[in-house]
Symmetry: C2
């Protein structure tokens, strides 16, 4: 029995122990939503995906080949419509989604800069994930100045994970016909008074498109995505960094660590190995 559980969304990888559904049989490797537990009863197998590349680390199916990976792929390619040479900015760039967006941007021959919340993460972006540049937003006195330094010619694509002050700094730095793919706005979720971007009128003069998306809408494209990313992984074009905690008793600590940004890369918890 093999089961890895993604703490926050309780996405996991596992092996089917018994099945009454014609599409799944005992022994199949699958990934999808589950309880954060050793065995899960799945009553809605529509939300389970078969694992077609078990030769890759199975943990990848909670990250680069799972929900965060599909999120990055859909948001970057379908929503932000990149072109070779585009200037791309990714916030929360060392997270499971951001690290893949940056690498997809490099595969597309874009120039990509990421922001993250520690020097260790910034270093990872530059040395492991191939970002052209990166900065620690907690150490920048003026986010607008940081963006101007990294993007003297402006930003074509902003992959938005945080909202708030970062969005407000990005808007005046966008280029004509820029695109903002809104994946999340994590800085806003726990605020009693979300602060929004006061300079939204930048959208008009720069003809900016800002568009929200959810990965659920892209489940139908999963197989195409899986094949493409599995190919990049085998060719060494995509690097993965995971932060693995051991044992179900460490789920809470791993979860709490996410909110203070303690994790480096995708946070996983190993429940059991094969």
């Amino acid at each position: 029995m093999f089961l890895l559980s993604n703490v926050l969304a309780t996405f996991s990888v596992g092996r089917v122990v018994a099945s009454g559904h014609p599409n799944f049989k005992s022994g199949d490797l699958v990934w999808g939503m589950s309880g954060c537990e050793e065995y899960t009863l799945i009553t809605d197998p529509e939300s389970l995906f078969k694992i077609n590349h078990p030769e890759l680390p199975l943990s990848y199916y909670t990250g680069v080949l799972g929900m965060p990976g599909l999120t990055a792929y859909a948001g970057f390619f379908d929503v932000s419509k990149p072109k070779k040479g585009d200037y791309v900015f990714v916030s929360s760039a060392s997270g499971a989604v951001g690290q893949l967006v940056g690498q997809l941007a490099k595969i597309t021959d874009c120039y990509v800069v990421g922001s993250a919340g520690s020097d260790e993460k910034v270093n990872l972006l530059k040395t492991k994930f191939g970002f052209d540049d990166a900065f620690n937003y907690k150490k920048e006195e003026d986010l607008n100045a940081a963006l101007k330094r990294c993007f003297p010619r402006g930003i074509d694509i902003y992959f938005e994970n945080v909202g708030g002050a970062m969005l407000a700094a990005v808007l005046p730095n966008m280029r004509m016909n820029g695109r903002i793919a809104v994946c999340g706005m994590i800085s806003q979720y726990n605020l009693e008074q979300p602060n929004g971007a006061p300079n939204l009128f930048c959208l008009v003069a720069k003809r900016i498109r800002m568009e929200g998306f959810m990965v659920l809408d892209y489940f139908g494209t999963y197989n195409k995505f899986e094949e493409e990313i599995a190919g990049y992984l085998k060719e060494g074009k995509i690097t993965v960094v995971e932060d693995v905690a051991e044992g179900i008793e460490n789920v809470s600590a791993a979860l709490i660590g996410l909110f203070s940004g303690r994790n480096i890369g995708k946070q996983l918890v190993t429940i059991a190995r094969e």
Copy 2:
């Protein structure tokens, strides 16, 4: 000599008195940007358009057949991509752009509601322009409640002219895959501290696309637009309301009136009649 001048943008209609440019000859009727004056020297005739339907009131070429008309047409059809049955909300709806957006929405078999700043304008929207409903935003204590009343099933398309509190009220009332065409944010332009929409994260869960645009990008499509709108005008499918001040000495008063919302419909100043 005939010249009508659109006060705010100094767009006007006139007759060519003399021309050294091969595309224009003395006597041609044209519209485009000009000084707010009786005679204008045009050094860049790329920004002039020939008038192909002089059988219609020439003043229409400062409004419904001019820049505001093309703005409404481009923003509604190209940016907000309407479908039959869509729920459409237009702010600043009695203005030159808004009144045409509403009528184009009705021609497209949408349900359309407008907001304006006086009961007289609201009445005009419902009785002259065929809006399904309208409200006076200055009289509503709670914009969110007003929108819920007008759109119990939510909004598919918001044609954004004002920004600020109206945008903040619209966002949670948008439907899945909604579109916000950002034409302007007039409530924000004269604020020292623009206030932005604090609930932008609505873009994610509802997969909303918010897109700024400028009419300049659509100048190449002018002839197609002119033919289509001239046809609607001749069939009586589009109604025009203009607010005409007489004489160049009244330009300042007409201009100042715009900022207090005194005008009803497109504000024009007649400089000279033929």
